[in-house]
Subunit: 221 residues, 2 copies
DNA sequence: AAATAAATTTAGACAAATCTAAAACATAAT
DNA sequence: ATTATGTTTTAGATTTGTCTAAATTTATTT
């Protein structure tokens, strides 16, 4: 696998993520995600196509090629391994690692990342519950539901976070919710879909529908 | 301390190192060190001057300003801490870490590097025996002499390496010489200043003058 | 003191990544 | 089917860092 510029890697990663959630990716989506201008995106799309990382016809939308997907997955692997390192070894909070990993993910040495993986004990997920692709780009999605779909009375363990903005992560931290935290849904208010949930089998707190939709849990059955 | 481009950081670091050894730095020196062209160096010198990182008058030579020196020392701090991490935690050989650290040194987070420092136990020197500047850019030079100046019969512990090219490091590795290795000079051949030295109080090997001049040791008295 | 050589700088060009403003295209509304 | 709206692309600039070739300055010989 060749080396690509940090900028190209960021585009590939963004397109990969947008493909996941939306299916179809638009120029505006990418511009928005990368805080840049649509014209700049079009410029880059042409370059990525020229390098066969992207399937793209003007005005007709685009998606990653096999190769583009492969590259994106390796960047994501690096991003998540570094995040794990920052939280587990350097004791960063899970809400402060994303930005730093955004830089570290572009360090090119393959050997470095494989040795880091080993040093960390081959973790399966990053500090936000997202799966870490292996050396070949393979990873397994965990089956999970958001809090709104966890039946009242049932308990689950937090396994992932949708919206990972610093604001969201700060809110969760305040309510003492992190990866692995046990949560039981006590009540759903039909009025606004806000929830009362029991955290760590202890305190009961209220969260909005927006929050509930972005906290994923694993549970039996 | 602002952020500067990787390229500028590389120039500052190179100039700092060249100042150490030569005293006076020339455009050609820098071009040679950074594998670039003299014209490119001149271009960059002007930019560094404009940012007050360099004292520079055309044709009259140049040197780092106080601020330039400060920035250079922080890059060197990062470079050496990462090298230490790679060798001590990820088990890289000391001859394979330089290139990777050359990239890692440009990661900008100050908090990251201070936490890394703590995680590593505040090491004083990198895997090549070079001192690691602290958060304020301070560091202490160890008193050391090269092998040619170690009296015959005396023993010393390897504390630093001058020429750190991969070729040199590979040679030392082969002869089982690394940081901390005890060495005793058995004989100096007047003909070519080659040495016979006893390594680790065990095997006796021969090294050339060139090698001897680039291996530094600490010894009593 | 000239002449020659070497080092340094300038002039002009180029690639990568970005931008603004305008044009082209696609979609939705009337 | 026209018109209006929004999206995407082009045209033309700009910034950063680099290069080659030529000009300038400094250093070294004769
Ligand atoms: Mn990034
Ligand atoms: Mn993450
Ligand atoms: Mn570097
Ligand atoms: Mn070193």
């Amino acid at each position: 696998m060749q080396k690509y510029s940090s900028s190209k890697e960021n585009y590939l990663k963004a397109i990969f993520h947008l493909q996941k959630s939306d299916g179809v990716v638009t120029t505006n989506d990418v511009a928005n995600e990368l805080q840049t201008r649509p014209a700049s995106v079009t410029d880059m799309l042409k370059k990525l196509k020229a390098q066969k990382l992207l399937i793209y016809e003007r005005y007709k939308g685009f998606k990653l090629s096999q190769e583009g997907r492969k590259v994106a997955l390796q960047i994501i692997r690096k991003h998540r391994l570094w995040e794990y390192f920052l939280v587990e070894k350097l004791e960063f909070g899970w809400d402060e690692v994303h930005e730093i990993a955004e830089e570290l993910e572009h360090i090119s040495s393959k050997k470095l990342i494989d040795k880091l993986d080993e040093f960390l004990g081959f973790p399966k997920t990053d500090p936000h519950g997202d799966p870490i692709p292996d050396s070949q780009g393979k990873f397994t999605l965990v089956k999970q539901v958001d809090l709104l779909h966890l039946p009242v009375g049932k308990s689950g363990d937090v396994s992932g976070i949708g919206d990972q903005s610093p604001e969201m992560l700060e809110l969760l931290k305040h309510k003492q919710i992190s990866l692995g935290t046990r949560i039981e849904v006590k009540k759903v208010f039909a009025f606004d879909n806000s929830l009362e949930i029991k955290v760590r089998n202890q305190n009961v707190v209220t969260v909005s529908e927006h929050v509930a939709k972005n906290v994923f849990v694993k549970y039996d059955e």
